[in-house]
């Protein structure tokens, strides 16, 4: 039963958060596999869509980028970037979108940095930049963020705020003029986290089997509430089968 990898557990943990009927915005890598898994496990009527404009792709093979030709096959609509981001900004459709993101740094309000470390004009380390992440974080109701659980990644202050979470707290988005919504969860290689309804601060919702809440805290650059955490159930044999045989049989991501 314990024959699973952390990456597989992370993917399943994200898939379980997707609700039937959601429109799922996917980035590259593990987020695509999570969205594919959700369709087989808990959200058969969810729709996978990509910022490149592909809607409801039939992913017979795992795409390695959101512009991979594999996302273009047997879609319901092949659109473009203008369409896809408008779908999220649009208040009729945007509220049904759940976005799956990743980042180099995250803070306690779920704001993300995927741009740089150090000074912006002469950074110590440069990353890819926003891509569509800032748009997703600005527009959609719920986001799930994948992170590596390391102290240098969970920071009190981001080097660069690329993608808005709750900004500086409960009224942050409203003050800035952003639509409602914001981060729903953070999934790492140790734990799952949510955001408090009132304070909008990150708190521990689940710890992976064999990992203590204290170890999770030891690997973060800020304190979070661990009093509400429960152990995350491991993937079931059926979930693992789906993941391995139907979502990433070539093992390109997992």
């Amino acid at each position: 039963m314990s024959d699973y990898t952390l990456k597989e557990l992370m993917t399943i943990a994200a898939a379980r958060e997707i609700q039937d009927g959601d429109i799922v915005f996917c980035g590259t890598g593990i987020s695509m596999v999570a969205a594919m898994a959700a369709k087989h496990i808990c959200a058969p009527n969810s729709t996978i869509f990509f910022e490149t404009g592909a809607i409801d792709s039939i992913l017979e093979e795992t795409p390695l980028a959101v512009a991979d030709p594999r996302v273009m096959f047997w879609t319901s609509v092949n659109g473009n970037l203008a369409d896809s981001f408008a779908t999220m900004q649009n208040r009729f459709t945007g509220v049904h979108v759940v976005g799956i993101l990743g980042a180099a740094q995250i803070d306690r309000f779920g704001n993300l940095n995927s741009t740089c470390l150090g000074d912006y004009t002469r950074p110590k380390t440069r990353f890819s930049g926003s891509g569509g992440a800032c748009d997703v974080g600005s527009f959609v109701n719920r986001t799930i963020t994948f992170m590596q659980h390391e102290k240098r990644k969970f920071v009190p202050k981001l080097d660069y705020l690329t993608c808005p979470g709750y900004l500086d707290g409960p009224d942050g988005r409203k003050k800035a003029g952003l639509p409602e919504g914001g981060p729903m969860s953070v999934i790492t290689n140790m734990a799952t986290m949510g955001f408090d309804e009132n304070t909008k601060e990150m708190f521990l919702t689940g710890y992976f089997p064999g990992i203590s809440p204290q170890k999770i805290l030891d690997n973060m650059g800020f304190e979070i509430d661990i009093s509400r955490a429960v152990e995350v159930p491991p993937p079931t044999p059926e979930e693992l089968h789906i993941l391995r045989e139907r979502c990433d049989p070539q093992r390109l991501i997992l």
Binding site: T28, G29, T52, G53, A54, E60, E61, L64, A65, V66, A67, D68, P69, R70, V71, M72, F73, N78, G79, N80, L81, A82, F85, Q89, R91, T115, Y120, T121, R122, P123, K124, T125, R126, F127, S128, G129, S130, G131, G132, A133, C134, D135, S138, F139, Y160, L161, T162, C163, P164, L167, G172, R173, K175, A176, G177, L178, P179, Q250, L252, I253
Partner: protein, 325 residues
């Protein structure tokens, strides 16, 4: 030159005619798909310098232009290349060593900026990026913007909704239009007049093309005007937007071209390994870019087996079962 005339020319001539030192340029495609790579390599061979490049997520093409020293300034949303380079390697090095000046926007903002250029309006509004450093941190300073009349004097502007909360939006971000001297796109089909058809996703190629003074279209297939007219709903670019048409089979290689070929995982992995090493990278450029006279010579160098491996399957439009590790 945008009339109904025969615009077919060689890629060498098209680049010589429409790209120049210091020009403002954009290239089509997205990360590992339909980048106009034959044109990118020709721009590198002609050693065009000080280019001001606009991109949303044009991974491979941007990285090769940056790596060969063609680009001074880059306005971009995403400098990554999917699984092949989470951050584009030469882009990362150039920003970190200070040789490339970058201005960051989001993908939607870059798309809107091209769209504004295509529409002939000075800006378009969005609700994206409110409260973020995309608004607060500028790569191009106010001083630089004042001295260069090809740059808008603000990166972007946040304003209260002038229609007072109409559609429940309190604030909007205005992003400035982009107009380029030249835009290069690679398409599946075009005719000699420049009418063009893309298959699969179009990304922002249509907006990019329409925001350019001159468009150079490279195409997999140069087909009869009547063949495009037989299915006009599938065509996106009208002839009067286009200045030059170049027939370049495999013109997006090593990126993918839907229905024709996949990306080449071997080339992209080898590229990354060489790009990561400053000692190896010049030899790579010498061999695969400067060392070949044109795109066909690059294809010959890669060999028939490499191309056959990525040829698209008729049903799916990509190379089924391709080893992509």
């Amino acid at each position: 030159m945008n009339s109904v005339s025969d615009k077919v020319m060689t890629l060498q001539d098209a680049v010589r005619k429409y790209a120049f030192d210091g020009c403002h340029m954009s290239i089509g495609g997205f990360t590992i798909n339909r980048n106009p790579m034959a044109a990118v390599y020709e721009i590198i061979r002609q050693r065009i310098r000080r280019i001001h490049l606009y991109a949303h997520s044009n991974g491979q093409g941007v990285d090769e232009l940056v790596g060969s020293g063609c680009i001074d300034r880059l306005e971009i949303a995403y400098g990554g290349n999917g699984r092949f380079a989470p951050t584009c390697v030469r882009f990362k090095k150039a920003v970190q060593n200070g040789s490339l000046m970058v201005e960051d926007y989001s993908n939607y903002q870059m798309t809107l900026r091209f769209m504004a250029g295509a529409m002939g309006v000075p800006f378009l509004p969005t609700r994206s990026s409110l409260g973020t450093d995309i608004i607060d941190k500028w790569g191009f300073s106010s001083e630089l913007r004042k001295t260069d009349n090809r740059l808008p004097n603000e990166k972007l502007i946040v304003m209260d909704n002038p229609f007072t909360n109409w559609t429940d939006a309190a604030k909007v971000v205005l992003v400035p239009a982009i107009t380029t001297d030249v835009t290069f796109i690679h398409v599946q089909k075009a005719d000699i007049y420049g009418t063009a058809r893309m298959e699969g996703l179009t990304f922002s190629d249509v907006e990019q093309a329409k925001s350019a003074r001159h468009v150079v279209v490279t195409c997999e297939e140069l087909i009869k005007n009547d063949a495009l007219r037989a299915n006009p709903d599938s065509n996106q670019i009208p002839h009067f937007c286009v200045s030059a048409v170049v027939h370049v089979p495999w013109g997006a290689y090593p990126t993918a071209c839907y229905h024709h070929y996949d990306y080449d995982p071997t080339y992209l992995n080898e590229y990354r390994k060489h790009a990561e090493n400053d000692d190896l990278y010049p030899a790579w450029l010498d061999r695969f870019v400067y060392g070949v006279s044109n795109h066909q010579a690059l294809l010959d160098l890669r060999g028939e087996a490499a191309l056959e491996a990525i040829r698209a399957d008729a049903r799916t439009g990509y190379a089924v079962g391709l080893d992509r590790r």
